[in-house]
C-alpha cells in the first residue's frame, strides 16, 4: 500500500514589537512573573484594548515579502473559550477579515525547491503561561506573555513530508528574522509550529482525517513528531481502524504524540466582531512607508555581495542566508580591504566557533571592528594566518582587540630576512644529521626544519620568507 502524506502547518510568530498588541506593557523575554502585565493584560473589569500600530506594520511587511494581498481595512474578532491563562475568557483575533491573504514561500529541500502557498496570516494576542508542576496541587498562572502580538500564518496543505515541513519552518525562520518581524527563536517560543497531518492512499484526491500536533519547539522535533504521527496513522489505517480527528501533544522525551486532554470537548468559539475595537485602516501613506523601508532580502544580498564585493556565489549565499551573519559582514566591511579573506573567516573559523558554542554571532564577544582589524593584520602580514587563529581564540573568550593581544603577547610576525636567516642558520647548525638526511634525498625533512624555525620564533616567522631562505640555504 502506497501512502501519501498531506501536511499543513500553522505557524505562530511572536512579533518583535517593544510592547504588546493591545496594551503598552513591555514584551521583554524572561521578566519576573506578572511584571510585564498592564491593567488591560490582566483582563480586569472595565479595561479596554488599544491597537499597536507597529504590530500591523510588521504583519504587513511579512505579507509584502510573500507576495500576499494586504487587507488595508481589517477587523478584530473575539474567540470565546475558558482557560486559566486566558484572562478575559476570550482571545482577540482576526477571523473574517485578516490583515494578510494569500502569498507563497519558497522552500529548499536537499535536492529541489518547492513553492508552498499561504492561505492567510492574521494578528492575534498570545495567552499567558501556565506552570503545572511547580506548586503542589496548583497550577500557577503568569500573564507576562498574555497580550503579546502573534502573527498566525496558515499554509495550504501542500507539504508532503517531515523534511519539507522542516524546510518550510527554516524558510519561515529566515524570512521573519530578515524582515525584523520576529527573533524567530523556537526554543524561547517566539516561533511555534502546529502541524496538521493526514495520510491518504497515493492517487486519492480526498483528504484523510487529520490530527493536529501541538507543542513542537525545535526543527529536530518537527521532523520526529511528524514522522511518528505518519507511522502511527498508517498503522491505524492498515489495521482497518479510522483515524480520530483530535489534537495531540508531542512528547519529546518519549518521542511520541498523544491526545491532549484539555481539548477533549469540542469548542464552539462563538466568533463575533470585537465591539471595543473599530475596524483598523492602514492608509496608502503608511503602506508606502512600509514599502520604502523594506529591508534587503537574502537573494538581493547574495547578488550584491558578488557584484560589489567580489565574493564567490557560494560564499555570498552562505553569508546572506543568516541575517545576523549578513549584518556582521556588512558592518565589518568598512574597515576591511580584503573582502574575500573576511568572507573566508566568517564561513570558516567564525562559523565553526559559533556552531560549537550554539550561539549567534551577535551573542558572542566578537565585534565587527575587532574582526575587521584581525583580517587586516593577517592581510598586511603583521601576523600569519596561524597566529591569527590563536588570536581569534582569545578574542572569543575575552572580546579584546587583536592589537591588544598582539601587543601583550608580542605576536608580531617576524618578516625581515636578516632575523629569519639568523634563526635558520642556528637550526641548520644544530641539526647536522637532519641536514645530511635532507641532502641525501629525504625531502620530507624540509618540514622538520620549518617546524624548528617556527618553534624558535614562537610561530612568528613569516612562513613564505622561511621557505625561501631555507630552500636557499639547504641547496648549498
Amino acid at each position: 500500500m502506497n501512502w501519501e502524506t498531506v501536511i499543513g502547518l500553522e505557524t505562530h510568530v511572536q512579533l518583535s514589537t517593544k510592547t504588546k498588541l493591545f496594551s503598552r506593557a513591555s514584551t521583554t523575554f524572561g521578566a519576573s512573573p506578572n511584571t510585564n502585565v498592564n491593567l488591560i493584560d490582566c483582563g480586569l473589569p472595565g479595561v479596554l484594548p488599544s491597537v499597536n500600530k507597529e504590530a500591523f506594520y510588521k504583519a504587513i511587511r511579512f505579507g509584502m515579502a510573500i507576495g500576499a494581498h494586504i487587507n488595508q481595512t481589517s477587523i478584530f474578532d473575539r474567540k470565546n473559550y475558558f482557560y486559566a491563562d486566558l484572562p478575559k475568557g476570550y482571545q482577540i483575533t482576526q477571523m473574517d477579515l485578516p490583515i494578510v491573504l494569500g502569498g507563497s514561500i519558497k522552500i529548499l529541500t536537499d535536492d529541489s525547491t518547492k513553492i508552498i502557498n499561504i492561505t492567510r496570516a492574521h494578528l492575534e494576542e498570545d495567552a499567558g503561561k501556565s506552570i503545572h508542576d511547580e506548586f503542589d496541587g496548583f497550577s500557577a498562572i503568569d500573564l507576562n506573555r498574555a497580550g503579546t502580538p502573534l502573527l498566525e500564518i496558515v499554509s495550504e496543505p501542500e507539504i508532503s513530508s517531515a523534511k519539507e515541513a522542516v524546510a518550510y519552518m527554516k524558510a519561515m525562520h529566515q524570512l521573519v528574522t530578515y524582515l525584523d518581524v520576529s527573533d524567530g527563536n523556537m526554543a524561547q517560543g517566539s516561533l511555534r509550529c502546529d502541524a496538521n497531518v493526514s495520510i491518504r492512499k497515493s492517487g486519492d484526491s480526498e483528504l484523510g482525517t487529520r490530527t493536529e500536533i501541538k507543542n513542537i519547539n525545535s526543527f529536530k522535533f518537527i521532523e520526529k513528531a511528524i514522522n511518528f504521527e505518519i507511522k502511527r496513522q498508517i498503522k491505524v489505517l492498515e489495521s482497518g481502524e479510522k483515524v480520530t480527528q483530535e489534537t495531540r501533544l508531542y512528547d519529546s522525551a518519549k518521542d511520541e504524540t498523544r491526545p491532549m486532554r484539555s481539548k477533549e470537548f469540542a469548542n464552539d468559539y462563538r466568533y463575533f466582531p470585537e465591539p471595543d475595537l473599530l475596524p483598523v485602516v492602514i492608509s496608502n501613506e503608511e503602506m508606502q512607508k512600509i514599502k520604502d523601508e523594506f529591508p534587503e532580502l537574502p537573494t538581493e544580498k547574495e547578488i550584491r555581495y558578488q557584484n560589489e564585493y567580489g565574493l564567490s556565489s557560494y560564499d555570498a549565499q552562505i553569508i546572506a542566508s543568516s541575517k545576523s551573519m549578513a549584518d556582521f559582514f556588512e558592518s565589518s566591511l568598512t574597515g576591511v580591504k580584503n573582502y574575500s579573506l573576511l568572507a573566508n573567516w566568517l564561513i570558516g573559523e567564525i562559523s565553526a566557533y559559533l556552531n560549537k558554542e550554539l550561539i549567534e554571532i551577535h551573542e558572542s564577544k566578537l565585534s565587527s571592528e575587532n574582526i575587521a582589524m584581525l583580517i587586516n593584520r593577517i592581510d598586511d602580514q603583521t601576523i600569519s594566518g596561524k597566529i591569527g587563529k590563536s588570536i581569534f581564540e582569545e578574542m572569543c573568550i575575552n572580546g579584546s582587540s587583536p592589537d591588544q593581544i598582539i601587543e601583550s603577547k608580542g605576536l608580531k610576525q617576524i618578516t625581515d630576512d636578516d632575523s629569519i636567516e639568523k634563526v635558520i642558520d642556528e637550526v641548520i647548525e644544530n641539526n647536522s644529521e637532519q641536514v645530511q638526511g635532507f641532502k641525501s634525498g629525504k625531502e620530507k625533512l624540509f618540514g622538520f626544519f620549518v617546524g624548528q624555525v617556527m618553534k624558535k620564533t614562537q610561530g612568528k616567522a613569516n612562513p613564505q620568507t622561511v621557505n625561501k631562505i631555507l630552500k636557499e640555504k639547504l641547496a648549498k
Binding site: V47, F82, I141, F272
Partner: protein, 485 residues
Amino acid sequence: MSIQFKSITELNKLLDSKAISASELTQESIQLAKKYSELNCFVTLNEENSSKRASDIDRNKKNTSLLSGIPLAQKDLFCTEGLKTTCSSKILSNFKPPYTATVVKKLEDAGSITIGKTNMDEFAMGSSNETSFFGSVHNPWKKGFVPGGSSGGSAAAVAAGIVPAATGTDTGGSIRQPAAHCGITGLKPTYGRISRWGMIAFASSLDQAGPLARSAEDCAILLNSMSGYDSKDTTSLNADVPNFLEDINQSIKGKKIGIIKEFNLSDLDTEVQKRFDESKKAFENLGAEFIEVSLPNISASVPTYYSIAPAECSSNLSRYDGVRFGHRAENTDDLNDLYIKSRSEGFGDEVKRRILIGTYALSAGYYDAYYKKAQQVRRLIKNDFDQVFKSIDLLMTPTSPNTAFKFESKGTQNPVELYLEDLFTISSNLAGLPAISIPHGQVNSLPVGLQLIGNFLREDQLLNAAHVFQQNSDFHNAKPNLENF
C-alpha cells in the same frame, strides 16, 4: 439650613458665599445617606476619604470649578481605586479595583467629592433595580415601589436629595427610565462622548455613562466635566466638547420636534397620555413646531436589543471566572468545576439568563439568524433616524410606558414583561444617539418622564429644550415626602 434637595447651582451659591464649607456639605450628604438608608441607594459609603477631600478643597480655597466641593454619588460599576466596586453582584462583592475610571477621575479633578457608590441592577441588567445582590432600592416617592433601573440607586439618591447629582450608565434606558420613575433629569449622551475606561462593561457597543441631576442645567455642568476623548478608550470620540451651558438659554422658537408615528401613544395609560399631550402644548407655547415622522423599523428595537446586548454581555462577563479576582467557589475538583461553581454562585438569575441567551445567539448555527440579523436590523433603525433628522431637530416620546410599579409585580413570571419597559428608550442606544428624560408631572402620585432624542453629538439641543421647558414649569422642583423612610 439643609442641603437636601438643593441643586448644584444653589449649592455653589452657598459655597461661594461661605454660608457652608465643602466639609460641612459632604458631612451633611453622608448624614442624609445614613438617615435614609432604608432606601438602600448605596452599596458603599466613602465617608473617610470624602471628608479628607472636602477638607483639602476647603483649604485650597481656589474655587474655579462649578463642581468644586459638590458631593456626588457614583454608580457602582465605575471603578474607584481602593474603594469597593461591586456592580451589585455577589461575584464582585469584595472587589477593590487597582485603578479609577476616567469619568470618576475627571469629575474628581473638577473638584467633586465621591460620597459613595450607588446600588444598581446586577451588572446593569434590569429595569427596576430588583436584580441587585444587595437588595432592591425603594422609590423615594412610594415605599415598596421600584425606582427603575439599572441606575436605580443613583436616581433615588438624587430624588431623595441626598446628593445633587450622580453618575449612571445607560445601555437600553438605564439612566432615563429611573430618572423618569424618580422625577429627576437624566441624560444619555451620544455613544463615544464619554470614555468607557473603568466603566465595567455590560454591552460594549451600547453602554454609555451619563449624569442624573435635579435639572437640565445641572446635567450640563456634569456633562462638561465628564465628556471628552480618552486615548485609553479607542471608541471614544475625538470630537470637540462644547460648553454645554453656553447656549442652554436660547429660545426654542422654530425648533422642529418629531412625534414618532409607530409609537401608538393611544395604547398608553390615559393619564400618561394626558401628561404627554399637555407637555406637547407647553412646547408649542414656547415656539416649537410638531411634525409626525415615521421610523418604520422602530418597533423592532426591543427584539434587536435583546439579541445584541446579551450576546456582547455573555462575552464581557467571561472574565468573571474566579481566577484573578472576585468570588471563587470553595471545594472545587478542577479548573472547570471552579469556573462553573464560582460563576453559578456569583451571578444572579437575570444575569445568567442574559449570558445564556447571548451564548445561544452567538453559537454556531444560530449566529446568522440572531446576532447578525439583529445587527442588520440595527442598521435599518439607525438609517431611519438619520433620515428623519434631516428635517427635524428633536424627537419627543414618553420615557416609559408606565410609572413606577410595585416590587416583584413585573417580570417574575415572564422576563419579557420587564424588557418592554424599555420600549421608548432602547432605540437611541442602538443608534448611538443622545437622549434626555425630564419630569413632567405625576400620575397617581408617581412621577412621569418625558423623553427628547437628539441628533448625533447634539446634546446641546436636548439640554436647551429641556432647560427652557424647566424654566417655564415647576415639575422638576417637586420633592418626595420621605416621612415613611
